[in-house]
Symmetry: D3
Subunit: 178 residues, 6 copies
């Protein structure tokens, strides 16, 4: 008997377009001053997406500011090519962290399990351990698009993208599109 | 004795910049087809704002679509000149009405009383009467900006702008700016 | 110029079917003991609905009990003939009052203005006055059906049905049906 | 026929104990510096309560600070003599206003109608008019106690206490005590 | 020293009655056409419940429809014999999935940990892995009854029932009954 | 490359003051009758905090009562020496369990991941296993203070304090203080 998850995976779209948003005040300020910006986490997501055979159709870099974050997501959501948005940064407990507080209320449906499954596989990493409970990394659905809000750390971004996003995003888009 | 509200009004800013957003699928489609568009409600707001000695610094026309609405508000919020955003349309109970559902979750603080005071003065209008309870017209604060979400009807827009928004918006901006 | 509300009223369905639910522990207990039950508020709603040219297709009497209330509403919602459900009772602040707490979380959309407009016209009645703020009378939409949760008192039921429900329910059904 | 509200009023307790909390940073700072403090709004509530034949059993003055507000309410709630708590101040839209944001989430049940009925009678006062929509004055129930969160202005406090609280608080306590 | 959980388990009721609800549009349509229906997941729950020495007192099969789901739960909740309700189906992210969205708002208390513990043991199954984050399987309490909302897949149902529900449901009923 | 979590840990404050609150009706009643009280879980927290080089600056014992719980937390929050509050007890599903229901609505930000990470490491303990899903143990931030709401069992308290709280609380305070 074929397992249900496997059957769904067969129906997953082969062509998926991603939009990457990096939320980082320090990098944004460098960019504003035309200084060179290294965005390691953004780059990791792009590379993993491409290695998986998917496409990156857009990217933006914004500071930890509710309105700038909102605008970047609104533009990505309004781009008809975009299937999936992944952000990195702003998911923690510093007062400046605003990504989840800004975007989560917009979800038509929150993919509630993304937060806890991500934290629990993070907990399993000896370099992270208890620090795993300090992230609000989240996912949700707006219209027919899927949004992932990842932490800023390169390790966290690699883990989430490789272990959780890429294996299931096609399956999820298939479900969401009804 | 000077009344507290009167004292606050003295401190109100004299120069206030408004951004108007009309939410109307039919007008948006005409615009997309380059047909002439009459936006009576948007025009009423603009005229009343100008007559009050304030300034209109921006305007956009969007359809009843969550993402388009979100984007228009995000751009207005991100415009440093803007103090107040007023929208018209999409506050009722047709399935297409999405303005309040989209923007209210973004309020840092909802100005809860706007909805009920507006409905109750509408109820007093013999042309509206019980239909007054069928609007979700709302107001709220994001950052230091004030947002009003008005119905689409010209009469409703005139009533809200003249009787509720213009008399208190300066006072409110003074409070919100702390 | 024809007013928007008037145009909508023209499109309102002429044939509307109501289901009445009386929530009253004392009457339910009498019914259970096969004693005669006078349900003045339920009777007022029925009579006003019929006088307006509409139809009552169902009625049930339940105690102030979350599960019994839920079941009565579920059966009314599942009856394909029913367009509008009106309940009477259980909208106050006694610990036994559970109607609003039970049904409101099920609304796809709450018709938020019903509560405040109803309270404010009640406040205008010299027999009610400040007691008006002690009701949670509410309305909302589930699927394509409209639900009104009215207080238990005959005067309140008459006021809400005559002044708010009957004048707009056709208009509202027209909107809700998209 | 005796009206239901009148019957309930007959059952209302005759002896009711009030605790008054004034929320005002400026007055609190004066008090801390042992300067003389005039608390006009607090005094109005006390006087009206006493004139109505009820008793004031406690009073505290706190600044617009979440934790100080919380502590004052916790102490009043924990005082077995107290039936009703009335606060004045901190219900507006300045960033410092925190009374409603702090206490409302603690309500077992919010008395939702207090906010809109109060705003609508305030709107009727020509000195207040549209400023009425700028208050979040609220009421609610915790355990068997009733809490009213009033604005800071003497006029608002007098209106709410005379027109809404004193006429119904006995009735409400009777209901709440089940 | 005896562990607290072990002591509670001693007090657990020995006789527990379950009601099973299968939420599946395809099976419901077959049933409506009097075609033979195989409900593998429903059958697994029944069998595991009986093997554990408990009793199945009711069963219903409903489509992925808010009102039908609501009615089935309302009838199960209103059946005085029922201690525990387990549903299977409708917990995912297809637009048709409505079980959790319908029933969760009715919980007096959500058993929040059921969702994340279930997802994390699912993640440990190599056939499920990252797909684990795509379920909203949930549990909660209404009155003195416990409700579990399980996914539709036979493997998920077997895992949840064997590893989470049956080991603790007696303990939980003992707690909930106070 | 130094890992981000390690860098944050370097910035963590060395001196941290804890306030312990035990929520237990049975112990509170003994205390009220001046009988000897053994508070094993409270003692475990104190000992672990001290062994970690931190300080316990306050302690209180309250029954499972919303107002008493609220008051104890309000006093601890209002104590300027206190950095972290840890409570034990009242996080389960007995009707008397009220700690989480009382304090969670006061959080400025909930540290959402604490609940699920704690449950999942509890699940890994063979003495707890599925009982892990029956706790609502939670954490959150009020102002610049961090609050942990732990279960009443000594084993749970030891696990949470050793594995989750002590390793990250300095890091978290550093983040929260901005
Ligand atoms: Mg960051
Ligand atoms: Mg009643
Ligand atoms: Mg003030
Ligand atoms: Mg306990």
């Amino acid at each position: 008997m074929t397992h249900a998850h496997e059957k769904h995976r067969e129906h997953a779209p082969k062509q998926i377009n991603f939009y990457i948003i990096t939320v980082s005040t320090s990098r944004y300020e460098k960019l504003s001053k035309k200084e060179p910006v290294v965005d390691e986490s953004g780059d990791i997501i792009k590379q993993l997406v491409i290695e998986a055979g998917y496409t990156v159709v857009g990217y933006s870099l914004v500071p930890d500011d509710k309105v700038k974050i909102l605008r970047a997501f609104a533009e990505a959501l309004d781009d008809p090519r975009v299937d999936v948005i992944i952000s990195t940064g702003g998911t923690g407990y510093a007062p400046s962290d605003q990504t989840v507080e800004t975007i989560r209320p917009l979800f038509d449906r929150e993919i509630e399990g993304f937060s806890d499954v991500f934290r629990n596989i993070s907990y399993g990493d000896p370099k992270v351990r208890a620090a795993a409970y300090l992230t609000k990394a989240s996912a949700g659905i707006i219209g027919k698009k899927v949004i992932y809000l990842l932490p800023g750390s390169p390790d966290a971004v690699r883990l989430a993208t490789k272990e959780l996003i890429l294996p299931e995003v096609g399956h999820l888009l298939y479900l969401v599109r009804g």
